[in-house]
């Protein structure tokens, strides 16, 4: 057998119901076509038949993949989780959630490109992976422990292992529970912590002592020079995320001077964009971009900001949902006169701090809310969408609360974040979750030279976010380019901040695609060029669409945003989001934009379904055949 480069070579399949453990070659899933990460996950889910079951059904596969660049020097130390997501609303959709940290590289050194978890254990277990040796072990003593504590206990038995764990929120099937590695690295959006909990799987501990061969080490070494040089230009980002960047300078200074310990980040990455802070009595934890968003809306007090972050991580709760979710909804409801302090306290059952018109401390509010979520208490643990749905029927102003929810949440049950222009609005509409991990693509190629280079029309960057005035023409090309790019990025895998490499866009001194394909070729030995890589991105996006069509009956009617976006300006809630919708999106123009998008994609304009010629062009004839057999090929 020819030596394998770049990929670890095996997919690990674990069925927790019957305890079977299989290892199959990654080659079975066409890694050259689907690369890794999201691409591999999507292919695996398709091959499993896209089961039409709920997120907490034992048949929901939890698929975790790394990619051919994982373990390399650079922003590639990532993995991707896919499966049917309990957080998506109103329907539970197949979606993705990326995470960084140490686990992805360790998993690869253990010999696995993917881990596929099926079934449900009859009692709490954890999965122990030591290179070839894989077994499910009893986790009775871990069940109930918070995420940090569980890792610490497990590390006694599994020294030097890297651990993916769920906290009480995941165990108790919260729909906004994360899967966590160390103190900070989480597969956050999607609610896959709850999926792990539904399988009675507390943790996955992996220890890898193998290595991954590289096809052309000299070429790889040469390309690392570019990464090291570009990384130097990113120091501003590391500095920005070192402290709560949305808080007043005074708060930032206290963190920088008093609590900052050191930089922190994913394996092999020179940026290390996270930081570790320690506050006595609250604890040591990592933080980066989204962890800081608690400030300044709710508090600028460093200890309250830090407690919010640390407690969310320990309990295994999606920090982004904690801040952009229920608290933001309540605060805006109060401001808009939809809810009163009394209703918040008595009907909703949460102590109201100052910003909710009450006298409770932030500590009281936080601990009550977070513990309700972690304990799986309905409706708090269900995520903001289902929380609102619950109170819609209970409260006099329930309908208004629902309207407000729809403003704060753009589509698919996910909170507003970076709806920066028509391109990203369209991407939000066609995805199954918030396309946060592409948001920088919509604002980075903001110089005409960069857009021209990538064959894109000039379009408004995030500083010009008035969607009522923005250019509709050409937004379809921007969205399609970024969607394909998202698939490539999440499959190599490369960090979202990879898209912020200055020379990729300002103006392009380095062609992103040529650089990525050179690196991929040097690592894997494949003859990959920019066009083939772009094709791979398009292939993955089309296969994701095929899953939506087959499993979720997706049609063009579903490719939309919540109604308020077509009716009014949307107010961004402080630190919870960036990008403002200064006026309503013109519904008719948006529908015309979708027409052009489907045509560009080679999809049917009436249904929004991909066509046979497009599938065959992408080497997905079998997918076309399957969809034809169920009457879903136009």
């Amino acid at each position: 057998m020819a030596k394998s480069y770049g990929w670890a070579g095996k997919v690990l399949q674990v069925d927790l119901t019957n305890g079977t453990i299989n290892k199959v070659p990654t080659a079975n899933y066409g890694p050259e076509e689907f690369i890794g990460g999201v691409g591999l996950n999507t292919k695996i889910f398709w091959d499993l038949g896209c089961p039409q079951i709920g997120a907490f059904d034992s048949g929901n596969p939890l698929i975790i993949s790394v990619g051919p660049l994982t373990g390399m020097y650079g922003p590639f130390g990532r993995g991707e989780v896919c499966g049917i997501s309990p957080q998506c609303y109103p329907d539970e959709l197949f979606t993705y959630s990326g995470f960084g940290g140490m686990f992805p590289a360790e998993m690869k050194y253990a010999g696995y490109d993917s881990i596929v978890i099926l079934g449900k254990a009859d009692k709490p277990v954890y999965l122990s992976i030591h290179d070839e040796n894989v077994e499910t072990k009893d986790a009775a003593d871990l069940w109930g422990l918070e995420a940090f504590e569980a890792q610490k206990v497990l590390m006694n038995d599994e020294p030097e292992a890297s651990i993916l764990v769920i906290g009480p929120a995941g165990e108790n099937l919260s729909r906004i529970a994360v899967i966590l590695n160390e103190t900070k690295f989480a597969a956050g959006q999607g609610g896959f912590g709850g999926v792990m909990g539904s399988k009675n799987l507390k943790a996955i501990a992996v220890r890898g002592t193998g290595v991954v061969a590289v096809a052309k080490p000299d070429k790889v070494m040469e390309l690392t020079r570019t990464i090291i040089e570009e990384n130097r230009k990113m120091n501003w980002l590391r500095l920005m995320f070192r402290t709560p960047y949305t808080a007043p300078q005074e708060t930032k200074d206290i963190f920088a001077r008093k609590y900052f310990r050191k930089q922190y980040g994913c394996y092999g990455c020179p940026l290390q964009c996270h930081s570790i802070h320690y506050i006595p009595g609250i604890g040591l934890c990592g933080a980066s971009c989204a962890n800081w968003l608690w400030a300044p809306i709710f508090s600028t007090d460093p200890k309250e900001v830090w407690e919010a972050n640390v407690l969310s991580q320990r309990l295994g709760i999606n920090t982004f949902e904690v801040m952009g979710g229920i608290p933001a909804l309540l605060a805006l409801s109060l401001e808009a006169g939809i809810l009163t302090r009394k209703e918040i306290e008595e009907d909703i059952g949460l102590p109201a701090p100052k910003w909710l018109g009450g006298t409770a401390t932030n500590h009281e509010f936080l601990t009550v809310l977070l513990h309700k979520i972690a304990n799986g208490e309905s409706p708090y643990a269900e995520g903001t969408a289902r929380f609102t749905e619950y109170f819609r029927k209970k409260l006099v102003s329930g309908e208004k609360l629902m309207d407000l929810y729809k403003e704060l949440h753009t589509a698919h049950g996910y909170a507003f974040h970076h709806v920066d222009n028509l391109g990203s609005a369209l991407h939000w509409a066609t995805d199954t979750r918030d396309p946060i991990d592409s948001c920088h693509d919509y604002k980075n190629p903001s110089v005409p030279e960069a857009n021209e280079h990538f064959g894109l029309p000039p379009y408004d960057n995030y500083q010009i976010v008035d969607l009522s005035k923005t250019v509709y023409q050409g937004a379809e090309r921007v969205a399609a380019w970024v969607e394909d790019n998202q698939c490539i990025k999440n499959s190599l895998p490369a960090c979202e901040f990879w898209s912020m490499i200055p020379s990729f866009y300002n103006p392009p001194q380095i062609d992103l695609r040529i650089f990525e394909s050179s690196l991929l070729s040097a690592v894997t030995g494949l003859d990959m060029d920019a066009d083939k890589l772009a094709k791979a991105g398009e292939r993955i996006w089309n296969l994701r669409r095929a899953i939506m069509v087959k499993r979720e009956n997706r049609t063009r009617e579903d490719d939309t945003l919540n109604e308020p976006y077509f009716k009014k300006a949307i107010k961004c809630y402080g630190g919870t989001a960036t990008g403002l919708v200064n006026g309503p999106i013109d519904k008719a123009k948006f529908e015309a934009l979708k027409d052009r998008y489907y045509e560009l994609r080679g999809w049917d304009v009436n249904t929004g379904w991909p066509t046979r010629p497009k599938f065959e062009e992408l080497g997905l004839k079998d997918v076309a055949d399957e969809l034809a057999s169920i009457g879903k090929l136009p």
């Binding site: 373990g71 390399m72 020097y73 140490m102 590289a105 050194y109 940090f148 890792q151 610490k152 030097e160 160390e182 103190t183 890898g208 002592t209 193998g210 290595v211 991954v212 061969a213 590289v214 080490p217 790889v220 070494m221 690392t224 090291i228 990384n231 310990r261 050191k262 930089q263 922190y264 980040g265 994913c266 394996y267 092999g268 990455c269 020179p270 940026l271 290390q272 570790i276 320690y278 040591l284």
Partner: protein, 151 residues
């Protein structure tokens, strides 16, 4: 006993080390053309809940037991006259493992590459222009070289 010069040394500052593993990735890539700490000459042991990571590599002993234990001394294992480090010549090393047994540290800082059946250890990137690759690529200057004269 032969006179062995003092060696230069890799110094690791645990206060600033982020535990990112760039040093081990670049080491394994440069020396072996692979990715993975298992074949890196230095290794980070991470402590994510204290943030204090330790760096496991050759301590460049002034009287290197590995060198003295080598049955093919000055053939399979040499002393670099410039830096003073003991280094392995892969062409002559038989992978007997005497050096590994002689290393006074736990875990041993010289290991056997089972595929090649030779010993490997940090030789401070002997012959590399610009010195050790880990020092060059460390994002936080957590690694530096202490010359034999400064030691």
């Amino acid at each position: 006993m032969r006179d062995v010069p003092k060696s230069a040394l890799l110094f690791h500052d645990p206060k600033v080390c982020a535990g990112c593993g760039v040093c081990e990735v670049m080491c394994s890539l440069y020396h072996e053309g692979v990715l993975g700490p298992a074949l890196a000459r230095s290794h980070i042991v991470r402590h994510p809940f204290t943030g204090e990571h330790s760096h496991i590599t050759c301590q460049q002993c002034s009287s290197p037991s590995c060198y003295f234990a080598c049955p093919l001394k000055d053939k399979a294992m040499h002393i670099d006259q410039t830096t003073g480090t003991a280094y392995v010549d892969e062409d002559d090393c038989t992978g007997c493992g005497m050096c590994v047994g002689a290393c006074p540290f736990d875990p041993q800082r010289i290991k056997i590459n089972v595929d090649k059946n030779v010993a490997f250890k940090c030789d401070l990137c002997k012959g590399r222009e610009g010195g050790p690759i880990c020092v060059e690529y460390c994002p936080f200057q957590a690694l530096k070289i202490v010359s034999k004269d400064e030691r």
